[in-house]
């Protein structure tokens, strides 16, 4: 089939007109199993070599090619023509981050929010005597399993009207990353993270609009994770954190 791809272009090095503009490309012989990324490749390789976009693994793992496709944030490498239906596609950069060129945005503000929530494992206890891993029950691992799936593609954060309105809001992705450690019974910095997220630009900017949940290419229950962090802040402690010592004793005794 023939497909028209409408792309939001922006060239900061243009001689005269530096304003973003729409450009249409027509592609022939497109299969319904082609990914949007394949279409972008064909445009870049066959029609306009100046078209710029990020992609790395091209298989929905690295999270490089998040863009707004037909009005919704998705990964270009995970969305097939069949999923979109129709023969007109509109592609534009994700919103709320500075556009560098065409579909490439500056991810630095996004990663800055990510770093704010201490997205790393904190446990100062000595390594277990057998020198092997810190054990955890399957139920405790299950508690934060969903939020371990995040690939930091920014699709959720840039689908959030609160983030569009206020770039200082940490955004869904950073909260998901915080959730992954806050609800990990082996981690010891949950309260610090909860304090960070209790700030005015933390979780309270979330208005439960639920744009982030369907935007996630990994199907993480994003709004739910944010809700759980809010409740943990209200209680002053996440579920499970209280049980940390019990679990350690259990592990030691067994």
């Amino acid at each position: 089939m023939d497909v028209t791809v409408r792309i939001r272009r922006f060239n900061p090095e243009a001689q005269n007109n530096k304003k973003p503009y729409w450009q249409e490309f027509t592609l022939t012989n497109v299969d319904e199993t082609d990914r949007v990324l394949d279409l972008l490749h064909r445009i870049k390789w066959e029609q306009d070599g100046t078209l710029s976009f990020r992609r790395s693994c091209a298989h929905g793992v690295c999270g490089s090619d998040a863009m707004r496709i037909n009005g919704i944030n998705r990964l270009a490498c995970k969305i097939l023509m069949r999923d979109l239906g129709g023969t007109k596609i509109q592609v534009e950069p994700i919103l709320g981050l500075p556009v560098l060129k065409d579909l490439i945005v500056d991810m630095e503000p996004f990663f800055a929010h990510y770093r704010e929530v201490m997205p790393f494992f904190v446990n100062d206890d000595p390594v277990p005597a057998d020198g092997r891993e810190r054990l955890q029950t399957q139920e405790d691992r299950e508690r934060f399993d969903d939020t371990t799936k995040c690939i930091l593609c920014a699709a959720c954060t840039t689908s959030c009207p609160s983030f569009w309105a206020n770039g200082k809001y940490v955004g869904p992705a950073a909260i998901v990353q915080a959730h992954r450690f806050i609800f990990d019974t082996r981690d010891q910095a949950a309260l610090e993270r909860l304090n960070i997220l209790a700030e005015p630009n933390g979780v309270w900017r979330c208005r439960t609009i639920y744009n982030c949940t369907p935007a996630c290419p990994r199907e993480i229950e994003v709004t739910r994770a944010i809700g759980e962090v809010k409740l943990a802040i209200q209680k002053g402690t996440p579920h499970g954190i209280i049980q940390v010592h019990e679990i350690k004793e259990r592990v030691v005794n067994s």
Partner: protein, 372 residues
């Protein structure tokens, strides 16, 4: 400002699910209700502090323009109430998120189901009112004149807040209050819970209030003489709204002034809920503009405090016979000036069905005894 424009434009462009539209509608209805709330609380306080002005205010509320507004207000309150409950439920049970879309549609459905009978009754009040021959219809300039003090007052409050924010900014130039730690988080934590708990408490109170004043009695019957005042056993003798308010606040059930307590509870809960909601909306769009962000916070805090104090002061004070007489004089005067029969030289409001009680009260021939 650019943040607001961008968010509005992109919200229209982004193909989010129903939750996005629920959010837009929740904000719009909230803003509408807060705006009317300010008008209504300060207006009603005039029953005590400026009875003639309040009598005129109610004629403004009975004008066609405000009748449209009344329907919009009822929609806004009902939708905001149901959607607020949806938000609260999913906030305290985030694991139920899979049902949130269906819940958003249920909210639309419940709103429509509630509004059909409500609007039917309200509309029957409108029809009955316009079937009468002698009604007062205020001309548009008079309505604008009556509402302009509120608009000017709000504009002045906004300007004052910006100026105050500018002055504070001069002294705290090097410190950005948005990045404060500790204190801010406890405040936000409190408000988050408050919005949800107060919302749930407000729902029965505000539905009761709407049912009484807008559905059962109806705005037009607030000024009907010999009409039993809703929620009391008293009759509106003068047919003035000031007597209506006075009788309700004076009404004792088992020795307790129930409507005074009811109104104080509603006032306090809504003032804090509404102005904090307004703060949410305004600060969402001004986080990167310290001057405007501070101004928004001052405007909401001071606006809330002023509205609350004026409302509370009017409920502590008592409406007496003098106030009713002043109101009756104004109603009789308005009838003389603006009734659709006003052009008829043979027509005298003192002899009309609608305004006789008010005119006689004004002349002193009909002694009004409050709390009878």
């Amino acid at each position: 400002m650019s943040s607001l424009v961008l968010t509005l434009r992109e919200t229209l462009r982004y193909r989010g699910a129903v939750g996005q539209w629920s959010w837009v509608l929740h904000r719009l209805t909230g803003l509408g209700v807060v705006f009317f709330f300010i008008l209504h609380v300060i207006g009603t306080s005039w029953a005590v502090f400026a009875p003639a002005l309040y009598e005129k205010e109610i004629k403004v509320y009975q004008s066609p323009l405000f009748t449209l507004g009344e329907f919009a207000l009822t929609f806004a309150v009902v939708y905001h109430a149901f959607n607020g409950m949806r938000i609260a439920i999913f906030d305290y049970r985030p694991e139920w998120w899979k049902h949130q879309q269906r819940a958003a549609y249920v909210v639309f459905g419940l709103t429509i189901l509630t509004l059909i009978p409500t609007f039917a009754i309200m509309f029957s009040h409108v029809l009955a009112h316009y079937a009468q021959a002698e009604i007062i219809i205020l001309p548009i300039p008079t309505i604008i004149e009556a509402v302009s003090p509120f608009i000017i007052g709000m504009a002045l409050a906004v300007i004052a807040a910006v100026v105050l924010s500018g002055v504070v900014g001069l002294f705290t130039r090097n410190r950005d209050m948005a990045t404060n730690t500790g204190r801010g988080s406890r405040v936000e934590r409190f408000w988050w819970s408050y919005m949800r708990v107060s919302g749930l408490l407000i729902v029965p109170l505000v539905f009761g209030h709407l049912a009484m004043v807008h559905v059962i009695q109806g705005v037009f019957h607030l000024t009907t003489a010999d009409y039993v005042i809703v929620g009391t056993t008293a009759v509106n003798q003068s047919g003035t709204v000031v007597e209506f308010v006075g009788e309700r606040w004076n009404y004792l059930l088992a020795g307790v002034a129930i409507w005074r307590f009811y109104d104080v509870a509603l006032l306090a809960l809504v003032a804090a809920h509404g102005f904090n909601g307004l703060r949410y909306v305004l600060t969402d769009f001004t986080m990167s503009r310290p001057l405007l962000r501070r101004a928004a916070m001052y405007a909401c805090f001071i606006g809330g405090a002023i509205t609350l104090s004026i409302g509370a002061a009017s409920m502590i004070a008592t409406i007496d016979q003098t106030a009713v007489q002043i109101a009756a004089e104004e109603q009789c005067r308005l009838a003389q000036a603006y009734s659709i029969n006003a052009g008829d030289a043979n027509w005298n409001p003192s002899q009309s069905d609608l305004f006789r009680a008010a005119c006689e009260t004004a002349e002193g021939t009909l002694p009004v005894i409050l709390g009878r």
